[in-house]
Each structure stands twice: as structure tokens, then as C-alpha cells.
Amino acid sequence: MEFVAISLLNGITYGLLLFMLSSGLTLIFSMMGILNFAHASFYMLGAYFAYQISTWVGFWPGLLVAPLLVGAVGALIERYGLRRAHRFGHVAELLFTFGLAFVVEELVHLIWGKSSVDYKIPVELDGALFTLFGTDFPIYKGFMMLVSVGMLVALYALLTRTRIGLIIQAALTKPDMVEALGHNVPRIFMLVFGGGTALAGLAGVIGGNAFITEPGMAAAVGSIVFVIVVVGGLGSLGGAFIASLLIGCIQTFSVALSISITDVFALVGITLPDGSQVARLTITQLAPVLPYLLMVAILIFRPRGLMGSRES
């Protein structure tokens, strides 16, 4: 019981961070149809910007400024790079974002070095928020959850309850009509791309010091965000939310299970021949691969994802 509660908390915290990361990706995809391979790079940029700002003026200004900066970079990239690539079709777009990821990584190497930087949690957020069954729950994790949930609510409100949200949604399905009504559709797309990357930047600001800020951090999460978007359903914000929590919990709980594949088969009454390396693998060791297994399974049995609306 105790262990389940703690693991659930850990899983939800991790899941919420994943959601912050993937919400921007799914937003950009649903609005613009762009599968942004460089999305995790904006996450990394957010962490590095926040680190740089924190060395000058502290963490709190960075929390606000870093995502805005990342968003501005994203908007500029959309305006002067992606928009041109768009003319040559989806493949060009895809390749553009793919290359962008490498460019960002190399730039980070050049500016901040290949090693990790010392981006620390602010003192105010260091410590225990509450103690559950003798295990401390850090304030910072609570803060992460708060920011993530706040972001979800704000995003939902923006998209469904405001005028600009309505225009964005309209531009998604009927761009010509929206344009005919006098709205600047390319600028809306630029805003959406900038906004999406800013969300990834925010996740970086928060995740960078919770874990570690180093040039490999983009590659480390780059694939998992795609898993979330695919499992949740391409373009579905609600789906991404559920998939994030699901994958956060799967990863947390699978670490906890020390049973081996042999044991799993034994549960259903099959005895595996003893001695093979594979049969002795424990679920814990398989933990890193489970999200990808889930993605493959979803693609086979429910290609549109948990809550996706398109078949593509």
C-alpha cells in the first residue's frame, strides 16, 4: 500500500513533466500538421536558457523569461525556416526539423560545452513538502505538478474559451475561410509554433534542474515524447495527457517489479525452459523498453491512438 502510494506519486510527477514536453508537440501537429523532430531540442534550450539566466538573476525570472525566449526562437525558426521548407511538402519539413535537432545540439556543445552545467533547484524549493509513510515528497516535485496542471488548464482555456483560441481552431480546419475573414493565417501558424516550443522550453526550465542539464538531454527524451503523442493520438491534447500519466506510471511501477519473464509465464501456467538469459530478465530490466512496446502495440491495434481523431 505504502509502496503503491509513493510509486503512484512518483509516476504522476514524471507523467506530468512528460505531458509538459509532449503537449507542445501534439499542439503543433494538430494545428499545423508538422511532426517536429526537434521538439526535444527546444526542451533542452529551455533548460540551458534558464541555467544561463539563473546565473545572472536567479531562478524565478528564468522561469518566465526562458520559455518566452525559446518561444521567440521557435517563432523565428518557423517564420524564416520552416515556412520556406513547407513549400516543398511534408518530407522537406520533416527533414528540416530532423536537421534542426542536430544543429541545436551542436550549438549547445559550442556555447555551453559537452559536459553538464550546474543548474540547481532554488533554495526556496529545496526540502520536503510533506511526508507520506516516512518518505519525503520534495517541494520541487509538487511545484512541477503545479506548473504542469496549471499549464494544462491555461492551455485548454486559451483554446476553447478565448477569441484567439477560436481563430486558431478555425485556421486549423478552414484556413482559406479564416484568411478570407481577414485573419493572417501564416502569423497564426507562427504563433502556434512559437507557443508549442515555448511549452517545451517551460518543461526544460523545470526538468533541467530536477534531473540534469547536459547536451544529451534532448536525445534522452526525444523518443519518449513521440511515444506519448502516438499513444495518446496524434493531435489530441487530452490523449497526450492520459498517455503521459500512463507512461509515467508504467515506467515507475515496472522498476518496482522484480519478477522475471519466467515468473510472468508461470502465472499463466507456462513453464519456460530454465537457464536462458532472456527468461531471467526481470521487469525492472525491461522498464526502459516498455513504453516502446506499448507504442508498437497501439500502432497495431489502435492506430489512431487512445483519443486521436485522425486515422493518419
Partner: protein, 433 residues
């Protein structure tokens, strides 16, 4: 007719000239030599050692700290004291990205650039790959042999079943370290339940194996309540593992983790308020003291060949100067200094920089290192040196004279093992050239 490849393969052309047109182009050779001399002191007349370790990726911080240590040691301990037969000792970094495959590529690159010595330490997987590649190379090129100095890869098989004449290890291996740790645990009756966590590769497996075997012999009453291997360098949030350790009721954790895998582990333990004690190999440096801070007090122990509060003749000053010179990197590896001094001594004694002659001079060498007399055992090329178990404690200016990484906490020796007592039998059957 001009060879179109001339510009591309300039180096090869140069060798070609040297070998084949001695009579014709003595003048040209002289000109080349003169121009090389003019280019600066960088080329020629130097003993160069290739440092093949991760300089990018999740363990870049560890690799870079090691390289700085080697460069500083070569400068202060060798070059400023007359060098090697008048030549300078130089370390050059090669980035193996922590991968065994890349290690082989970097070795090839180093050999192509004329390196005859390599050193590596981070990751026994890469060390295995390197020892294989060096053996193979030396078999095929007996006139251009390469020697491998291992300063930190601690898998016992490297000086056991896989031992090689061309490999020397300057760090105590896992069995030696675990022997010392379990001897200490034998007398500590507070320990009842032990959890073993490690990185999922050769080193992590060896630590777990040694810990289980030795505890079973020395403390039958101790229960191993859990054992976990996690992917190396990929776990960013150790909270689930800490939850598992907590649920197992362990009062003691044994880990061979290093670099960020250790920093993040103790950070997660601190966040969750885990009270178990940690027995580690590598908590003394590379960011881990900063990650644990006050929460590690009296809870985190390490086994090392030295730490800042073990009195020495001159290393204290060396370390303080190093810390000042490289802010953010803290002097950590005494064995790097020992290695550099021993290698220089071997070359000077052998009056040669030929790897085979140097290897023969290094074998059986006894050397007054800063942590006491050390001995390079001839039978398996494993360095025998004193070992210290220390606990993270508040710096008091006396027994804990120096704190670690500016945390206000430093290492306090709680037990030590003499060089003689650290020796264990070896399974090595070495084939000698």
C-alpha cells in the same frame, strides 16, 4: 604528374618521402624538419599518451575531470621535474563517448597519429574492448606495440582471466574493494538488510556478484533484500528505485555507481528522505558530494585509495592548486598522479620509450606513492596500494580538515587497509611476449 591525393593525405606523403627517397631529398627532409621545429614545440620529442574516455554524453564531466587531472599531473610531477629523458609527457584526449565500439575507433585514430600509449578508465565495457584491440594490434605489429594504462576500470577479469602483458591497472579492482568493504561490514552489527543497486554492465554485475559472495561468507545473518541493475547513464529520475529500496526495508545500500548515476541516486535518496547508509566506490568526487550535501552526513561511505584528509607529503598542495586552477572541477584521482609518476619512472629507468621495455620496467615496481608504498604485481599487472574507507562528515578543521566540493562536509577515515592486506590471489595466466 601531381597526385590528386597529395593535399588530402599529407601525413602519409610525408612518411613516404622519408622512407623511400632518402638520398634524393635529404634536403627536403631537412626543410620539413626545420619547418616542424618552427611550428612550435608541439611536435616530436614528446612522449604522448592518448586519453580515451567519454568527453561527450552523460559522462562527459567525469571524462573531462580525468583529462585535466592527467594534464596537470604530467606538467607538475614530470615535466617540471626534468621530464622523461628530457622529453615532455603529454596527454591528448580522444572522445570514446563511453562506448566500447567508439573506443576501438579512437584507438585506431590514436595509433594512426603515432601514439604508443593509451589510458582509459571510465567503463569496464570500454576497457574490455580496448584490451582486446590492443592485444590484437600488438600481435600483428610486434614492432609498433601499444601499451594500455588503466586508471579506473575495475572489473576483476581485466587482471584475471583476461589479463594481458600490455595492460596495467592502477586502481584496486572490484574484488579488492569489496573485500575491504565487507571486512568493514563484518564488524558492524547494525547492518541487517542490504540492497545492491548498480549500473547494468560489466562493472555493476561484478560489484553485485562480489558483494553477494563475500557477504554470504562473512555475515551469514545479513539478508540481501534486493538487487537492481539499471541502464547506465540513462536514468534521470531515481525516485522509483529509491521507493523500492525503502519498501525493501534495507538499512544499507551497496553501489558501484559513478558519475551522474551516483549523483542522481543520492539526490533522489536525499529528496525522499531515505535513511539507509550507502557504501560506495565513488562518492568522493565528480559532483556527488554536492548532490548529497548535508543529507549525506554519516550516511554515505566510500572506499578509495586516498581522500583529501589522508595526510600526504605534497598532494594536499597539489590538490588545492588544482582546485583553484580549475574552478568547478575538484581534485579526486590520486591514482592518476601515481600512475603518471610510475610511468615516467619506468621510462626513465628503462631509458626507453618503447612500450615493451617500459612494461618490463613497470612490472614488479615498488614506488613510494603519496598514499604509501605501492607495488605493481608482476603476475597480473594489478597495482597494490593502501585503501581507505571514509564517511562523509562535517568539516572541523582537524580530522576533517578539508571539505569536499565546497559543501562544508568532507571525508573522515573510519578504516584503512594496508597495501599488503589488500592483496588477493589472481586467476591470471599471462602470456608474455
Amino acid at each position: 604528374m601531381q597526385n590528386p591525393m597529395d593535399g588530402v593525405a599529407g601525413f602519409k606523403t610525408f612518411q613516404y618521402l622519408e622512407e623511400n627517397s632518402m638520398t634524393q631529398s635529404k634536403f627536403r627532409n631537412l626543410a620539413i624538419a626545420a619547418s616542424l621545429a618552427l611550428m612550435g614545440s608541439a611536435a616530436y620529442a614528446q612522449v604522448k599518451i592518448a586519453y580515451i574516455d567519454p568527453l561527450s554524453g552523460p559522462f562527459a564531466n567525469v571524462g573531462e575531470a580525468g583529462l585535466k587531472g592527467f594534464k596537470e599531473a604530467a606538467e607538475i610531477l614530470v615535466n617540471q621535474k626534468g621530464g622523461i629523458m628530457g622529453q615532455k609527457l603529454e596527454f591528448v584526449g580522444f572522445d570514446n563517448k563511453g562506448s566500447p565500439q567508439e573506443t576501438q575507433i579512437q584507438l585506431k585514430a590514436a595509433i594512426d597519429q603515432g601514439f604508443r600509449y593509451v589510458t582509459q578508465g571510465n567503463g569496464s565495457g570500454a576497457a574490455h574492448s580496448l584490451i582486446d584491440a590492443v592485444n590484437k594490434w600488438n600481435e600483428r605489429n610486434p614492432d609498433k606495440t601499444v601499451l594500455f594504462f588503466n586508471y579506473a576500470a575495475v572489473d576483476p577479469t581485466l587482471t584475471g582471466e583476461k589479463c594481458s602483458f600490455w595492460h596495467f591497472r592502477f586502481d584496486a579492482n572490484t574484488e579488492m574493494k569489496m573485500e575491504a568493504i565487507t571486512n568493514f561490514m563484518e564488524n558492524d552489527k547494525k547492518i541487517k538488510k542490504v540492497f545492491i543497486i548498480g549500473q547494468d554492465y560489466a562493472h555493476g554485475h561484478q560489484v553485485a556478484k562480489a558483494a553477494k559472495e563475500m557477504l554470504a561468507k562473512k555475515r551469514k545473518d545479513v539478508q540481501i533484500v534486493g538487487e537492481d541493475l539499471h541502464p547506465i547513464g540513462r536514468v534521470k529520475d531515481f525516485a522509483p528505485y529509491i521507493a523500492k529500496i525503502k519498501a525493501s526495508g534495507a538499512d544499507t545500500v551497496i553501489t558501484g555507481n559513478w558519475g551522474n548515476d551516483l549523483s542522481l541516486l543520492v539526490k533522489a535518496a536525499k529528496d525522499a528522505g531515505l535513511t539507509a547508509r550507502f557504501f560506495t566506490y565513488y562518492a568522493g568526487g565528480l559532483g556527488t558530494p554536492q548532490a548529497m550535501g548535508a543529507s549525506g552526513e554519516n550516511k554515505v561511505l566510500q572506499l578509495t585509495e586516498w581522500h583529501m584528509n589522508v595526510p600526504t607529503k605534497s598532494t594536499e598542495k597539489f590538490a588545492l592548486d588544482f582546485n583553484k586552477k580549475y574552478p568547478g572541477v575538484w581534485f579526486y584521482y590520486l591514482r592518476v598522479n601515481t600512475m603518471v609518476e610510475m610511468v615516467a619512472k619506468a621510462m626513465n629507468t628503462a631509458k626507453s620509450t618503447d612500450p615493451k621495455a617500459v612494461a618490463l620496467a613497470l612490472e614488479d615496481m615498488r614506488f613510494p606513492a603519496e598514499n604509501g608504498e605501492v607495488w605493481m604485481r608482476k603476475s597480473d599487472h594489478q597495482l597494490m596500494q593502501p585503501l581507505y574507507i571514509s564517511v562523509f562528515a562535517k568539516a572541523d578543521g582537524k580530522t576533517v580538515k578539508h571539505d569536499s566540493e565546497g559543501t562544508g562536509f568532507g571525508w573522515k577515515t573510519v578504516a584503512s587497509v594496508s597495501q599488503r592486506d589488500s592483496q588477493l590471489p589472481t586467476a591470471c595466466i599471462m602470456s608474455r611476449p
